[in-house]
């Protein structure tokens, strides 16, 4: 990289786009603060996981081709989601056969795709943030980011730099919350057992704020916490790191 500001293509992810735009803006703020120029291609939609994980390879390929076209040409592509970033980075190249021109394009895109927090720390060398928040928080390690991309220490490092934030480790923070994309609607009872166990650990941590890096998991855990009448607030880690907490927490009442 030259000294000029890297151009980032923000892959918003469909859940952030539809349900929680504030996460997208927090991502933009963090990226800009770390010296990047952020662009948001209008032609992006979804990364293709619904088809890919349902065994529908053809439709997954069609959506992957559309995403590749939308996101090509940037220095980096960054997504505020371990799961969607892993789809682009780890799975797109495997969707196409050797020799297929799309495989090369997928590989090229995969090489420059990163999950937001790991990008800030590992690529941009960010040591801390200037945000302040007086709160007692705990953090859930979402599976794809953790196991497919190695996102583990980076969010903790940045969260520890937030002034006023007390971070307590969640028991079994690496165990799946039971979201799993379509799993939670295909096997609602098993998913419920998993998220119930997760919520028990969250409550036991004593924290009043739950953070994670993937909106799917956050919706699942927030949905269960709210159904149970819990007072624990739920936010995407980027919102806290960007000091971007004017929106009510996920699933909370609005004024």
């Amino acid at each position: 990289m030259s000294d000029s500001k890297p151009r980032i293509g923000l892959f918003v992810t469909c859940l952030v786009d539809l349900l929680r735009p504030s996460v997208g803006f927090a991502a933009v703020e963090l990226l800009e603060a770390s010296g990047c120029v952020v662009e948001v291609p209008q032609s992006q939609t979804c990364c293709g996981q619904p088809a890919y994980n349902s065994g529908d390879r053809k439709d997954a390929q069609a959506v992957a081709r559309a995403t590749i076209e939308a996101m090509e040409g940037f220095d980096y592509v960054v997504a505020p989601s371990g799961s969607c970033a892993a789809m682009l980075r780890e799975h797109y190249p495997t969707l196409f056969k050797d020799g297929d021109v799309w495989r090369e394009r997928a590989r090229h895109l995969a090489e420059r795709t990163h999950e937001l927090i790991s990008f800030l720390v590992d690529v941009r060398g960010l040591q801390g943030v200037s945000a302040r928040l007086s709160a007692h928080a705990t953090y859930h390690d979402s599976c794809s980011g953790l196991r497919e991309l190695g996102v583990k220490d980076q969010p903790r490092k940045l969260l520890n730099s937030v002034e006023g934030l007390q971070l307590t480790e969640l028991r079994e923070s690496e165990v799946c919350c039971g979201f799993g994309g379509t799993f939670c609607v295909k096997y609602p009872d098993i998913s419920n057992e998993m998220v119930t166990s997760k919520v028990r650990d969250i409550e036991a941590s004593g924290a009043k704020l739950l953070l994670a890096g993937d909106l799917g998991c956050l919706l699942n855990m927030a949905g269960k916490l709210k159904r149970l009448g819990s007072q624990v607030e739920v936010r995407h880690v980027a919102e806290v790191l960007a000091g971007h907490i004017e929106q009510p927490a996920i699933g909370e009442e609005r004024n």
């Binding site: 918003v12 469909c14 952030v16 786009d17 539809l18 349900l19 735009p21 997208g24 209008q42 992006q44 939609t45 979804c46 293709g48 619904p50 088809a51 890919y52 994980n53 349902s54 065994g55 529908d56 390879r57 439709d59 069609a62 959506v63 559309a66 939308a70 599976c143 794809s144 196991r147 690496e174 165990v175 799946c176 039971g178 979201f179 799993g180 994309g181 799993f183 939670c184 609607v185 295909k186 096997y187 609602p188 009872d189 098993i190 998913s191 419920n192 057992e193 998993m194 998220v195 919706l219 927030a222 949905g223 269960k224 709210k226 159904r227 929106q247 009510p248 699933g251 009442e253 609005r254």
Partner: protein
């Protein structure tokens, strides 16, 4: 064994309601995991050993025919017999024939998943034989007339209190005042009951963790020593193993043994690791007079050269199920056949067909914890995804899923329509939720809202707000 895998959903719902089962499963969630982690941490070369173990098996599978032939030669040279069995029925018949020839009345058995796979006990009992399981877990489930729910801890679904009750009702000589409130006391009680059985048995049947091509040796790994008594006291020893158990050399076996017990129970080595080569020799003080190996295919060779070949590396340590949150929630019986958990979700459709077992590879969140602990580095989520693809290609997935996906693809590949639809959906849902910020029910989302609220959208989509921001900042900014 008759498969119930098609009923996974119903079986798992029943399992979630089963208070005793949930109590028993709590032990799987902690014990195995902590012990494996400690054992792995204590061995700096653990991950390098996993790579070596994977490479050994990959090499073996690439030359499986050669190693199997070599193995048979060596078994014959040591005085044993190999029975090549293509199907479960072939294997059952071969064992029954051996028992008949030996004039057997009582058969003792060490733990063997293959014998569960081929339904051996029922078959032998129908032939008039008394079959006695000698592994404590297998003995317990035999009394309970249940199949195993775990591949290394067959009775992990049973609580200690239930075992005590089973022993009190089945062991006629057990005095009422005898205490059985600790695991050790239960073990002692079972041991006493089994002792006479070992001596009575005419045939001893064991499984095999490995078959060594270099020497024609079968290897069993146990913690109770029951396998040794099963195979060395009767006149005839029958080993039942599937053909992917083969490894080229003694040294390869030792490499894989180093990851096996650590992954399974967190032990550096299991209490007993027993190598058997042929029947007793003239100078041997003990051992069986005859040594037979039932070498079972039952669908394995059809996996070679396919995307499922990697599954044949599995050494049946159970680490994947010990770490699987779905297994923790529902236990092994929900999977409806011999092999539960993530390894079962890949192996079962391979052996009995995706038509019958398609639910299993779908019942995963793809959290990847199984792959992260597999000592043989089997990419279990990837293989489950391959099964989902096969299912989709065969039009076995539900019509609602298929039409949903094609509608989704239509929009996902047409950004303008997609964003318009998204704007409308987000605005409508936000309005429906009102100030509450969440929805109690969702059209088409009953699976979600049965157990949780659905956090409402903020109102406008990110793309909408971003476009507004770009406009307000003007093109020059």
């Amino acid at each position: 064994m008759q498969s119930q895998s098609h009923a996974f959903k119903e079986r798992s719902s029943a399992a979630l309601q089963d208070v005793q089962l949930q109590k028993a499963l709590a032990n799987v969630k902690t014990g195995f995991i902590d012990k494996r982690a400690a054992a792995a941490a204590a061995l700096p070369e653990f991950d390098a050993l996993r790579d070596a173990a994977r490479d050994i098996k990959n090499h073996t599978l690439a030359h499986l025919d050669l190693y199997l032939e070599r193995y048979e030669e060596k078994v014959i040279a040591s005085g044993g017999t190999v029975h090549w069995c293509a199907t479960a029925a072939d294997a059952r018949d071969a064992v029954a024939q051996i028992c008949r020839s030996a004039g057997a009345k009582t058969v003792t058995k060490g733990k063997s998943m293959i014998s569960e796979e081929i339904g051996l006990n029922d078959h032998l009992e129908a032939e008039g034989l008394t079959v006695v399981e000698t592994d404590l877990g297998e003995y317990i489930i035999q009394l309970r007339k249940e199949p195993p729910s775990h591949i290394i801890a067959p009775a992990v679904h049973v609580t200690r209190e239930q075992v005590e009750a089973d022993f009190r009702s089945h062991h006629k000589t057990l005095p009422d005042d005898r205490k059985l409130d600790e695991a050790e006391l239960l073990v002692a009680e079972a041991r006493e009951m089994l002792r006479q059985r070992y001596l009575e048995a005419d045939v001893g049947i064991t499984g095999a963790n490995f078959l060594i091509a270099e020497t024609g040796t079968s290897v069993i790994v146990t913690n109770e020593g029951n396998g040794d008594l099963t195979q060395s006291l009767p006149k005839v020893h029958v080993v039942i193993a599937s053909l992917e158990k083969i490894v080229p050399t003694l040294e390869d076996t030792c490499t894989i043994l180093r990851v096996l017990a650590r992954s399974a129970t967190g032990q550096e080595f299991s209490s007993y690791t027993t190598f058997s080569t042929g029947p007793r020799r003239a100078e041997d003080p003990d051992g069986p007079e005859a040594y037979h190996v039932i070498l079972l295919d039952n669908g394995r060779s059809a996996m070679l050269g396919t995307e499922f070949e990697e599954m044949l590396r599995c050494i049946r340590c159970g680490a994947c199920m010990n770490h699987c949150p779905v297994y923790h929630a529902v236990g092994g019986h929900a999977y409806g056949w011999v092999y539960p958990g993530p390894m079962g979700a890949v192996l079962t459709p391979s052996l009995i067909g995706v038509e019958k077992a398609g639910q299993l590879p779908n019942a995963s969140t793809f959290c990847g914890r199984c792959e992260s602990v597999c000592p043989m580095r089997i990419p279990l989520p990837k293989l489950m995804r391959h099964w989902r693809e096969r299912e989709f290609e065969k039009h076995l997935s539900p019509a609602a899923v298929r039409s949903g996906l094609s509608a989704w693809r239509f929009f996902a590949t047409r950004p303008r329509l997609y964003h318009l639809g998204g704007r409308i959906a987000a605005a409508m849902m936000a309005r429906l939720a009102g100030r509450k910020g969440r929805l109690k029910s969702l059209l088409l989302g009953g699976g979600w809202t049965k157990h949780r609220d659905f956090p409402a959208p903020e109102g406008k989509t990110f793309q909408q707000l971003w476009a507004e921001r770009q406009r307000s900042e003007g093109p020059a900014s």
